[in-house]
């Protein structure tokens, strides 16, 4: 695709998300969501393969339905409450419908089944955009209406996302599907705490985006889309694979990596709010996720799989200039736990 088209689509993605961030009227927020949806479609379908076309079509259908539901909810609220402002959504039916629409857009359980299939049909860079950038706009809207939502519904959304994503990711051999289930699980952690501490939910989302970026960029460098390819990538770049184990364990929420921040702070907040049962259930679901991340780490570099060469590393590498973004994302994914008190203070500032 010519560079000018790439610029146009990426600029539209940025414009759409920014428009949603900046809007106080539901119609402009809806416009921003539609803009991001439409801008990413050519990026998904750029590889002329039936699976890419399938992923694009499924994504369009799901997102268009979700945005349609959201528009219907906002029109209902506008008709009943006479208000188009995002912060003044009070009608319970409109709120529930809007929440379902945003859950469908984000890929939260029980509306998550489209996400693994769509991710599987995309290349790694587009998958990264889908898992990270495309979550920002709907999450911003969810944050704004979360205070008016029934708390039980948010808790159920969060718990079911964490549990069903853990169960779904258990026996995947395709890395993109694993990352899709990881996306649903992490968003479940963010959503469950949204009602009590929106700042903490935002921080959880930010940390998740950083970890996902590190994981996807490493997979892209290794050209790995399956566990089996991962297991033989140690000879291409041993340093990146060592970092990859730590990134995976960070995704699983293991200390002392940054990913533990989310688990720690969310559990602390839940226990402060006397929600012991949801806290127990969500941490048990996280254990299942941690199991498959740890298993992936084990197969990545802890065990050496048979290869065709007897030498340890390839002597001839592709001449790729390493971009700065990967080291930044990897460092942020692994070493930011000591900064947790500062980030916690910032979340209180937001609240």
């Amino acid at each position: 695709m010519p560079a000018i088209l790439y610029f146009m689509f990426y600029a539209s993605l940025g414009l759409g998300t920014s428009l949603t961030f900046l809007s106080s009227h539901w119609l402009t927020a809806w416009m921003g969501l539609e803009l991001t949806t439409l801008a990413i479609l050519p990026l998904m379908a750029q590889h002329h393969h039936p699976r890419a076309s399938e992923a694009t079509t499924k994504y369009l259908l799901v997102q268009a339905s979700a945005t349609g539901m959201l528009l219907f909810a906002t029109i209902l609220n506008g008709w009943v409450e006479m208000s188009w402002s995002i912060n003044e959504m009070k009608n319970p039916y409109a709120l529930t419908l809007a929440m379902s629409a945003l859950a469908l857009k984000l890929g939260l359980a029980p509306f998550h089944l489209w996400l693994p299939e769509v991710m599987q049909g995309l290349d790694l860079l587009t998958g990264l955009i889908l898992s990270t950038w495309q979550k920002l706009a709907p999450f911003a809207l969810l944050m704004q209406i979360s205070q008016a939502m029934p708390p039980t519904l948010l808790t159920i959304l969060g718990l079911s996302s964490a549990t069903l994503a853990a169960w779904g990711g258990l026996n995947q051999t395709q890395l993109r599907k694993i990352m899709a289930y990881s996306s649903t699980a992490h968003l479940g952690w963010s959503v469950i705490i949204l009602q009590f501490s929106p700042g903490l939910a935002l921080m959880a989302l930010g940390i998740y985006i950083m970890m996902t970026m590190a994981a996807f960029l490493t997979m892209k460098d290794m050209s790995s889309t399956k566990i089996s390819t991962f297991s033989t990538s140690w000879s291409k770049s041993p340093e990146k694979m060592v970092a990859m184990i730590l990134i995976l364990l960070s995704l699983g929420g293991l200390p002392p990596m940054t990913g533990f921040t989310i688990k720690w702070l969310v559990l602390e907040e839940l226990t402060k709010q006397d929600m012991y049962t949801p806290a127990t259930l969500i941490v048990m679901a996280a254990l299942i996720s941690l199991y498959f991340y740890a298993r992936l780490s084990y197969f990545t570099i802890i065990s050496l799989f048979p290869g065709t060469t007897s030498i340890k590393t390839y002597w001839r590498q592709k001449n790729i200039k390493d971009k700065l973004i990967l080291p930044i994302a990897t460092t942020a994914t692994l070493f930011l736990l000591p900064l947790m008190p500062l980030t916690l203070a910032l979340t209180y500032f937001y609240n």
Binding site: P50, R51, S53, Q174, K226, S228, S231, R295, T308
Partner: protein, 304 residues
């Protein structure tokens, strides 16, 4: 065609007129559109269309319903238990360490139930194809006679093929079960032929209806003679065709959702044939790094 004024005065009459014009074959032009071709069902040339109502095609039976419930819930339970074990019901370590996986082998009469044999007899041709177990019940023998005389139905111009295809495996509640061959990169077959060239067809799961006839094919040249032949065909060599026509826009076969494999003979040589297959397996050849064998030409090349 002559139409009465009464017919043209009512909407039903006008609609019926268009339907008759569209759907009835005329003597000067062959039928281009028919109900079946509009709705995508296969109609054997020369046969009358199936005009039964949908409920007439179903056999309602209480005992069949109970059996169905038991079967599907049993399969669902197996899936849950298999999920705890690993991907596709096998431990992940097996999945990671295996370098060869025998997908189909013929060790008893029940193994033949996984296969469907067909020939141009379905369209009125004269080829015959049969499947039986080979000696000692360890192989399968596909044999028959090829005849390229086309059926005399006024529509078909070419004939003379036979095919052996694996059945679509199903999960609980008749969901399709796909094979995940992404760990492997080579198809490995042990067979014994009669010197004829066969074609191996692999069909993957497709989403759009216009892709439903997409098949990835490659050739299988048999040597003939009493000696067994082992062939390893990388999946990167398979090319895309649709309804027998090789496509311009080629792409590689994605191995994570494979539905079935088939063998086709259509070499226009009339006479008997036989193909004996020992097993069909998959293997990984780590020295084979080719992703796709065919050059994908640019349809809109950039002008410098």
């Amino acid at each position: 065609m002559a139409v009465s004024r009464v017919t043209l005065q009512t909407p039903a009459g006008v609609c019926g007129l268009f339907r008759r014009q569209l759907l009835q074959p005329s003597l000067s032009h062959p039928t281009i559109l028919s109900t079946r071709s509009i709705y995508g069902e296969y109609k054997r040339p020369g046969q009358p269309p199936d005009k039964r109502w949908p409920w007439e095609k179903i056999r309602f039976d209480f005992s069949k319903g109970v059996e169905g419930i038991q079967k599907h819930f049993g399969l669902l339970k197996d899936e849950f238990v298999g999920r705890l074990r690993g991907p596709e019901g096998r431990p992940l370590l097996d999945h990671m360490l295996e370098q060869t996986l025998v997908q189909w082998e013929f060790r008893g009469p029940e193994s033949l139930d996984q296969w469907v044999v067909s020939s141009d007899k379905e369209i009125g041709g004269q080829s015959e194809a049969y499947l039986k177990l080979g000696k000692n019940n360890t192989t399968c023998m596909l044999y028959g006679t090829l005849c390229s005389v086309p059926p005399r139905d006024g529509e078909t111009r070419y004939s003379g093929y036979c095919t052996l295809r694996s059945k679509q495996t199903l999960l609980s509640f008749d969901r399709k079960r796909h094979f995940d061959w992404s760990t492997f990169n080579t198809l490995y077959i042990r067979f014994r032929g009669d010197g004829r060239p066969w074609m191996i067809n692999i069909s993957a799961e497709m989403y759009f209806s216009h892709n439903k006839n997409d098949i990835y094919s490659y050739f299988l040249y048999t040597r003939g003679g009493p000696y067994w032949q082992e062939v390893k065909i990388p999946f990167s060599k398979f090319f895309l065709s649709s309804r027998g026509r090789i496509q311009d826009d080629q792409h590689c076969l994605w191995l994570d959702k494979v539905n079935n494999i088939g063998f086709t003979l259509g070499d226009k040589a009339d006479g008997p044939f036989q193909l004996e297959i020992d097993f069909i397996a998959l293997c990984i050849d780590r020295a084979h790094t080719e992703e796709f064998a065919y050059e994908k030409f640019k349809r809109n090349p950039e002008v410098p």
